[in-house]
Every structure is written in C-alpha cells, then in structure tokens.
Amino acid sequence: MAMFATGTAAETLAQSAPMGPPRSLWADARARFFRNRAAVASLIVLGLVAAFALFGPLVARHSIETIDWAILGNVDEAGGPCFLSGPDNEIPPCSDSGHYFGTDAQARDLFARTVQGTQISLMVGVVGALIAVVVGTLYGAISGYFGGRLDNVMMRIVDILMSIPYMFVLILLLVVFGRSILMLFVGIGLISWLDMARIARGQTLSLREKEFVEAAIATGVHPFRIILRHIVPNLLGVVIVYATLLVPSMIIYESFISFLGLGVQEPLTSWGALINEGADQMRQGLWMLLVPLFFFVVSLFSFFFLGDGLRDALDPKDR
C-alpha cells in the first residue's frame, strides 16, 4: 500500500521554481497535457467512473440493502453476474433478476452496492484531498510569506505532527469516537495537509521576492489580501498536481481502514469494504472481489497517470 508516494512528488515539486506568468503557462500546459495520450485516456476513464457513480442509481434495479431471498444461502451458485446466466448454472437471467454484477455474499445487488461504494470512495478521495489542499496551502503560504519566527514555529509544528504514528492515532480516534465518515475525514485531514504545507511554503518563499508581490506590499495592500490574491493563485499549478496525487492516497487510506473493520456503517459501503468482503469470499465467488477491485484499480491507475500528466504539463522543467 503506497500511501506515501505523494510525499516524494511533493519534494520534487517543492524544489521546482514557481510558475511564470499565468496566461501563457496555462495555455502551454493545456497543449502539453493533451499531447499526453495516457493522461487524456485517464481523464476519460475517470469521467466514466464518475458517470457510473452519478447515473448508476438510475440503472440499478435494486436498492443497496434489499436481499434477494431466493439467492440468499446459494450465492456461490446463483449469485454470479446475470449475463453469465446459462443452462449449466443456477444464475437467474438478467431479465428476471437484474443483478448485472451479481450479488454480494448477503444476496444484495452488487451493481447497486458498487455504485454506492464508488460514490463514497470518490467522495472520501476528493473531499479528503480538498481539505488537505486548502489547509495546507493556506498554512504554507502564511508561514512562507511572513517568514522569520512565525515561519520557524509553524514549520516546527509540522515537523512534530509528521513524527506522530498517525495511522495508529487514526485507529484510536475511530475506536474512541465511534466509526463515522466525519471522523474518517478529520483523521485523514489531520495528517494529509502536512506535505502540502511544506510545498506551499517553499514556493511562497521564492514568490515573495517577485516584483508583483513587492509592488503590492509597496502600495500598502493588506498581507492576507496579498496571500489570497497574489500568492495562492500562483501556487495553483503545484497544488493541482499534488491534489491529483492525494486523491488516490486518500482512497487507499480508506480501504485500509475498511479492512480493519473501522470504515463506513452498513448498509453503506465503499470500495475498500467491498474489496475486503470480496477477498473473504475469494473461494466462493470471484466476482465479489473482481468487480469492486476493477473499479478501484482502474480509478487509481487513472489518478496516477493523470497526476503524472499534469506534472509533466505544469512543470516548467519540461523534458
């Protein structure tokens, strides 16, 4: 489980120079991005996955919690995806059952559950990354902009937080305060903004020396206005790249938490929960593992390629 891949990308980003004049950069970057076929394909795949999560409920013939009593207890034989229905197995045909992806071990419709799990996992990924990005960027920009003693203190705090065995703390939080999505966000959010803060600070340090910032200071603009209007927009390139790398990490975190049995509550589900249940049923029916694993792997693949593509596009050290 590579929860930490983003850390290094972050380091690289932290060392790279801040972006040049915005307009030409964005146009350039767009052109570069669309030349990268893998990245474009990833964007399309992610679009499809998002569409699956959004419009899946319209296609699903069952709710996520209805049990198909006729299949319960015989999932091994009759619970497979309905398009595999045939004379040599007991799977009811699609026209009867509508279990496009088969059922889970409790004979609930796996299609509906995968749709719902996709929603939760994407939400965890995007919201988690968003929290990290917003908090981290502001924290880093403030620290870097004011510099001096404040910078020193703020960065020491980051150092301290980084030495906390956070996975353990997250487990503790979930045990102590009970399992909930909110707690999951708080727990993941607590730690994931740290890298972002370091990157943002590094970039801000050099942005602060730029003419347009000096001009703003000279004309007496309020420091927080400078940070929000001048520094943060110039950090956006780095932030976007980093965010695309954070999303898959968040999703992987969530799956690990689900594996530990501390994820979302029934009847809700997530990719991690579905995969974990599927792994337990590996020998009874492989589809219960393969269906959610497919969505999980394909989406994470795409996020990684997208992140690589964006970095290549936005990184001035183009090769």
Partner: protein, 307 residues
C-alpha cells in the same frame, strides 16, 4: 551537523511527551474497559482489578508514574490483556520479528524497485518502459490485504511450496511470503520514483556532456547518472519505513508472524492501555529516529545540503 542532530533529538522529547499525553487522554475518553466481558462482572471484582493496575488513582498520577517508569526504569508496565506477559516482554518478542521481515522487505523493495525504475528509464518509451510503469502502478494500487490471501492460496494450498504462516524463529521459508506481501507496493513506488528521477538526470547537461565526449552508455549510467538519480529514492525511504510499519498490521494478521503490527489494532480494540502506550512510544521514537537518519544520509550523499 552535530548541533543539528542534537537539536533534532531534543525536539523528539516534547514530541513524545505530547504523544503520550494525547494517547493517554484518548484512552480515558474511550468507552469500554479492558476488563469488560460478555458477562457482567460484579463491581467488587472490577474494583479489585482496577486497583491492581493502579487505575483507581487520579489521571495525573497515572500518567506521571507511567512516564517516570518508562524514563527511569525503561519499564512500560503490564499488559492489560496478556496477563502472562508485560509490555516489555511483548515488544522484546514481537519487535525483532517485525524488524526482520521489515528489513528484508526494505532491501527487496529498494533493489528490485530501483533496478526496475532505472531499466525503464534507460529504455524510455520502449515496451520495457511501458511494462514497468504498468506493473508498478498495478502493484502500487493492489491492496496487500488482497495480495496476502492470494499468495497463500497459490503458494501454500495449490503449489504446496511454502508454509502459509508462522515464523519459527525466522526460518527462510517462513519469511518469503510476508516479505513479498509487504514489499510489493513499496517496490512499485520506488520504481516509479527512480524512473522519473533517472529520466530527469539523463536529460541534464552533465550527462549530455558525457555523451558528447563519447563515453560508453554503461559508464554514463553507472558512474555518473546513478547517484544523483537515487537521491529522491532516498528521501522516500523515511515515509516508506513508516508505511512498512503500518503495513505490518496486515502481515501479522494474515501470516501470524507474531510481530508487533497486530498490536496497533488489537490493543486499541481490547483497550489494552499498557500495550497501546508502549506501541505509541515505540512507533513515535522510531519515526523520529528514521526521519533523522534519512536526513543525515541525504546530507552525506548530497554535499549541497548543509544543516
């Protein structure tokens, strides 16, 4: 340099203290007790047990005596769950196991991952490159709680080559599956990082100069490009190390290796306050130490960095 190391080590003290206090407070806030069971235990019995463990004293006394015992006697106290062992016993028994398979996973991840990444970079945009990128992203996203049971199914049940778990003092056949399961995703990350940085180095000016001088490709790669290309890999080792410790939860659960990983979850679930505190302190100290070692190594390899 020495002053820097000293400062970092001094910083570790408040960090660990904060960690101890926060964990202790969380423990107090947690519902449930280490001594609850299906059957309601009479209050007098609970009172006896709490007295035996000193849980009847005020919070501040408990935490104070805990810190005192750890600092002065290096005694992490009793386990609230395993009454035949105390926390020192449990860590002494489990930690070497975790370190052993952790170390080999580390070695495998760095060597195989590094080689794969560099090979992919040298053969940039060939089938080897695409394969390496595909395989490494795939390996990175395949959760090890899926990989571990597959390994046992294949190598233990179907092929019968390797035992499906246990440790037996670290005999080689017991170490192989845990190492594969733990190292795969880190190997993949290292391969990706190594590839990216190698690509960057290969297009840099000093390599172009070397090429222009007509040096053979092998010399360029091994003499000149390798060292700078591996720097980012080095900085990944800190997070990778922490990740491996976290990942050891899965290894211990699936392979029954008897390492300390399983205590992360089990101690919290059982409300085993003693083990929970011991593990927190150990992990915190290790994380700080390892980050420091990586930073020192970094400075040693890259002379441009000064502390």
């Amino acid at each position: 340099m020495f002053a820097y190391i000293l400062r970092r080590l001094l910083l570790a003290i408040p960090v660990l203290l904060i960690l101890v206090v926060v964990t202790f407070a969380l423990m107090y806030a947690a519902p449930g007790s280490p001594f609850a069971s299906e059957r309601a235990v009479p209050a007098a019995v609970i009172a006896n047990i709490e007295r035996a463990y000193g849980l009847d004293r005020p919070f501040i006394v408990q935490i104070g005596s805990y810190i005192w015992n750890v600092v002065v006697h290096f005694d992490f106290g009793p386990s609230f769950q395993y009454r035949d062992q105390d926390v020192n016993d449990l860590i002494e028994q489990g930690f070497p196991v975790t370190l052993t398979y952790g170390f080999w996973s580390f070695v495998v991840a760095v060597i195989v991952g590094g080689a794969l990444g560099i090979a992919a970079a040298i053969r940039h945009n060939t089938w080897l490159d695409y394969l390496a990128v595909g395989v490494s992203i795939g390996a990175q996203v395949l959760p090890n709680f899926v990989l571990a049971p597959i390994l046992v199914l294949v190598f233990t049940l179907w092929l019968g080559w390797l035992p499906g778990g246990g440790w037996q003092g670290g005999q080689i056949e017991y170490v192989i599956l845990p190492v594969i399961a733990l190292s795969t995703s880190f190997m993949a990350s290292i391969a990706r990082i190594a590839r990216a940085s190698m690509l960057e180095v290969m297009t840099s000016n000093f390599i172009r100069t070397a090429r222009a001088k007509g040096l053979p490709g092998r010399t360029i790669v091994f003499r000149h490009a390798l060292k700078p290309a591996l720097l980012p890999v080095l900085s990944y080792l800190g997070p990778a190390f922490v990740g491996m410790i976290t990942g050891s939860v899965v290894i211990d659960l699936y392979f029954s290796t008897g390492g300390i990983g399983q205590f992360f979850v089990a101690s919290a679930l059982n409300r085993d306050y003693g083990v929970m505190m011991g593990i927190t302190v150990l992990l915190g100290a290790l994380t700080i130490l390892f980050n420091l070692v990586v930073d020192i190594l970094y400075a040693w390899i890259d002379p441009k960095i000064r502390y």
